[in-house]
């Protein structure tokens, strides 16, 4: 076919450009020191290694969004109570019952009428679920409207994402990845994290800071026996027993009402105490927070104010005098590291709802390096065996196929760097597998050429129909594998996705090298050199 003869140069140029581009993308991954002109003009991205190869932590968190709705319900029910009292509506109980329902008992139908008006005017987000009349009293159950609840949930996830990003940023991890997944999940990838437990503590802590007054009118012991006064709660703190040096649980009876939260903070810093050099966390309130803190301390001099973090009482000092500077501190038995992490989480703000860890995978750096070494070894040994076999079986043709194979590996690696895909351990397996399957295309072609030659066709006719007939088979066979690989890509997470990526790239690039590139070599030999037959 003379047409092929004419455009053989064009095809050679295409093949060469592809390999040169692949090499350009691959080079940064091969060498540490790139020359200056390269850094300015050419690609500098290395192949991105998955956490299973470079070591690091993979976390999937679920935001307990239902809790965010509960918190919102709690706030609204407190507001509602205040408004009802202010407008002198006669009611008995108003409480959040289990979950996200608010229940109120109204004295009579007149109170019900007032209540309905208030609800309509001031609390449009509340919806009446049901109501019943018990001995003349009206009992009403309310909930936050479903649409509103959805918004709260969505917002909780967004805010958690933001807060966790802030915390991770300050923790100092290079190239962290924090992305939402599904409706209420957050995927976190932290390369190179050495102390996973510390990272989990930092990310997973709700860090809800609350200031509450101690209930000093009632006794803690009575409360522990079961008679907790209404409007109060029992929370625990920890103390080091001076005799045994053991951590001891200490109960506190606190007023339920929260006077101030961590929202009012502007800054949190680690400071060192004067007396023993023990670390503590110094808090600075924002202007509104400082005013509130000023008012709270002024109104409650000589009372004890508890500093509660995630339902644990850290300390409950006596307010000696009004504090106007907008400064406070959390003391406790911290190590330097703990104090630093606490300052980070307080500064980054509380999570709007607790998070639970659904999945945690940590790979140490030594195992990652092991995997890289062994993976590379398998690639090299596998390739050498295939290369030797091909030359032994097909001689010069085998040599041509081997060139295509090496080119294929370079293209796969270059494509990984160019598309910023992630190479994982199963991904390396994908490359190994592609090597085995890439020669398949050439085997198909060569066997076909042999068959055609046996029928007595001339070399170029045999090559021609060999390629033409094998082509359909190769495309059909590879597309089905590609379908499986694409499904895998959709379904997979992390390492498995990496496998799907290298397999897909490998299939496509192997079709290019095994069909397009080898053909150029054949055409060159047969047309230009007038060689009778390339040994096959």
């Amino acid at each position: 076919m003379p047409m092929f003869d004419k455009n053989i140069k064009i095809r050679a140029i295409i093949a060469l450009s592809v390999i040169v581009i692949a090499l350009f993308y691959l080079t940064p991954s091969l060498t540490e020191s790139l020359p200056g002109f390269w850094k300015n003009n050419l690609p500098t991205d290395k192949i991105h290694l998955g956490l299973d190869l470079q070591g690091g932590m993979h976390l999937v968190l679920e935001v307990e969004t239902e809790k965010a709705v509960e918190n919102a319900t709690e706030r609204i029910s407190n507001d509602l109570k205040e408004v009802l009292m202010k407008k002198k509506v006669r009611f008995r109980h108003l409480d959040r019952t289990e979950g996200t329902t608010i229940m109120v008992d109204l004295r009579d139908s007149e109170a019900r009428g007032q209540f309905d008006r208030i609800l309509e005017e001031d609390f449009p987000t509340l919806e009446i679920e049901s109501s019943e009349i018990i001995e003349g009293q009206e009992r009403v159950f309310m909930k936050i409207a479903a649409k509103q609840a959805e918004t709260i949930k969505k917002f909780a996830v967004e805010q958690s994402l933001e807060t966790i990003r802030n915390r991770v940023d300050q923790f100092g991890v290079s190239e962290p990845e924090i992305i939402p997944q599904g409706k209420d999940r957050i995927l976190i990838q932290l390369p190179g994290v050495k102390d996973p437990q510390r990272a989990i503590n930092l990310i997973g802590k709700t860090a809800l800071l609350e200031f509450k007054l101690l209930d000093e009118e009632h006794s803690v012991d009575d409360a522990l026996r079961g008679t907790i006064p209404p409007g109060s709660i029992v929370l625990y703190g920890y103390k080091i027993d001076p005799d045994t040096q053991r951590r001891k649980k200490v109960p506190y009876l606190l007023k339920k009402k929260t006077l101030l939260t961590g929202d009012a903070l502007e800054d949190a810093k680690v400071r060192i105490g004067n007396r023993f050099g023990e670390p503590y966390v110094g808090l600075t309130f924002d202007s509104q927070g400082a005013r509130d803190f000023d008012r709270i301390t002024a109104q409650n001099v000589n009372k004890r104010l508890a500093i509660v973090l995630d339902e644990v009482v850290h300390s409950a000092p006596v307010i000696q005098e009004r504090i106007s500077g907008g400064q406070a501190q959390i003391t406790g038995t911290f190590t330097m590291e703990e104090a630093r992490d606490l300052a980070i989480v307080l500064k980054a703000g509380a999570l709007p709802a607790p998070v639970i860890i659904l999945e945690q995978r940590t790979v140490g750096p030594s195992l990652g390096q092991d995997s890289i070494d062994k993976g590379l070894l398998s690639i090299i040994v596998g390739s050498i065996m295939v290369i030797l076999f091909m030359v032994a079986y097909y001689r010069l043709s085998g040599f041509i196929a081997n060139m295509a194979l090496i080119m294929n590996i370079i293209i796969i690696m270059g494509a990984l760097a160019a598309f910023k895909a992630t190479l994982t351990l199963p991904g390396i397996a994908g490359i190994v597998l592609t090597i085995g399957m890439a020669v398949d295309a050439n085997v198909l072609i060569f066997e076909r050429i042999r068959e055609e030659a046996r029928l007595g066709k001339s070399p170029n006719a045999a090559i021609d129909s060999g390629y033409a007939k094998a082509l359909i088979t190769i495309v059909d066979a590879n597309i089905t594998t590609l379908i499986a690989a694409l499904v895998l890509f959709q379904f997979g997470t992390g390492p498995v996705k990496g496998f799907a990526v290298t397999l897909s790239i490998g299939i496509i690039s192997s079709m290019f090298t095994a069909i397009f590139v080898t053909r150029i070599v054949y055409d060159y030999f047969v047309w230009h050199r007038k060689i009778k037959m390339v040994s096959i």
């Binding site: 945690q360 062994k374 596998g382 199963p426 066979a477 089905t480 499904v487």
Partner: protein
């Protein structure tokens, strides 16, 4: 060089019955093993749980590790050697997956430190999967298989005929079942990478099947008067050389992965090894004869003697 002589004519179609019986027996053994073991042996990816990989400096026995962990309640746990014996690497697996911040893995680390000292071991890998994620992944894994099969069914029906697609699907279900069965018989665990391996086997098995199909289709066009059985048989023979060569090169590289790739990827490579062998067999003995069987039950409209 030629391994398979040209003009070879082995009687594949004639041994179809024998092959089917053999396959049915192996598939039944696989299913019985699965039933006997109460389904596949799910790893923590799917069942949820905690898995900690630890490398010790010195020679250590499983018993010593178990003793040192007796202070913490692990629940149902397995402690086993991981990789080669002289590596001193162990895998501690439990069904528990604590969602608390103070995780089970750090309790394990603490208990081991008390017994062996801080520098005597290295925690190389920790994996904690909650039950919710496990269930999600199980569903997703099944769905992935189903989607892949449907996609392939559509493609083959489009490129060939429906009866070809049926043959291909039967062959690949056969391959997957046998691989899963062998895993079950050997007590090997199912993890996410194994699902990836199964999907690859599906792809590979099809690759082989389609090469045979392609030749059948080509020969059917050429020889209109030949019996279908003869066409199928000679087609399998014509591509036999390629089938053997490709399986060979693929086995070479997968073998390299199996022997040199390290413990983490060992089972994955094993699944591929099994899959390549079974997939090659099934494309010759299961996929193509199915077309014949289909033809006997529902003859195609085109006349053929």
């Amino acid at each position: 060089m030629e391994l398979i002589k040209p003009g070879i004519n082995l009687n594949f179609v004639g041994r179809m019955k024998l092959a089917s019986i053999a396959s049915v027996i192996v598939v039944i053994i696989s299913i019985v093993s699965l039933l006997f073991h109460g389904g596949p042996n799910l790893g923590i990816d799917f069942a949820g749980g905690t898995q900690v990989q630890i490398k010790f400096e010195n020679k250590t026995e499983v018993k010593d590790i178990r003793d040192s962990l007796s202070t913490i309640s692990l629940g149902k746990s397995v402690i086993q050697q991981f990789g080669y014996e002289d590596n001193n690497e162990f895998l501690i697996k439990t069904e528990k997956s604590s969602s608390e911040i103070k995780g089970l893995s750090s309790s394990i680390e603490e208990a081991l430190t008390v017994q062996f000292g801080k520098d005597a071991f290295e925690v190389r890998r920790v994996e904690v999967v909650g039950p919710k994620v496990g269930k999600d992944l199980r569903q997703k894994g099944m769905l992935a298989m189903i989607y892949a099969i449907i996609g392939i069914l559509i493609y083959i029906t489009w490129r060939f005929e429906f009866r070809y697609a049926i043959g291909a699907i039967i062959a690949l279900i056969h391959d997957v079942l046998i691989t899963v069965g062998i895993f079950s018989l050997l007590g090997k665990e199912f993890s996410l990478p194994i699902i990836a391996a199964l999907l690859t086997i599906i792809g590979y098995s099809l690759n082989d099947t389609i090469v045979v199909y392609d030749r059948i289709r080509e020969n059917l066009r050429k020889a209109r008067r030949q019996k279908l059985g003869e066409v199928v048989n000679s087609s399998i023979n014509q591509v036999l050389s390629r089938t053997i060569l490709t399986s060979g090169t693929t086995l070479l590289v997968v073998g390299a992965l199996f022997f040199l790739g390290g413990a983490v990827i060992h089972d994955f490579a094993f699944a591929l090894l099994v899959g390549v062998v079974v997939g090659t067999y099934s494309s010759m003995f299961i996929a193509s004869p199915t077309i014949l069987a289909w033809e006997t039950v529902w003859p195609s409209k085109k006349k053929r003697k």
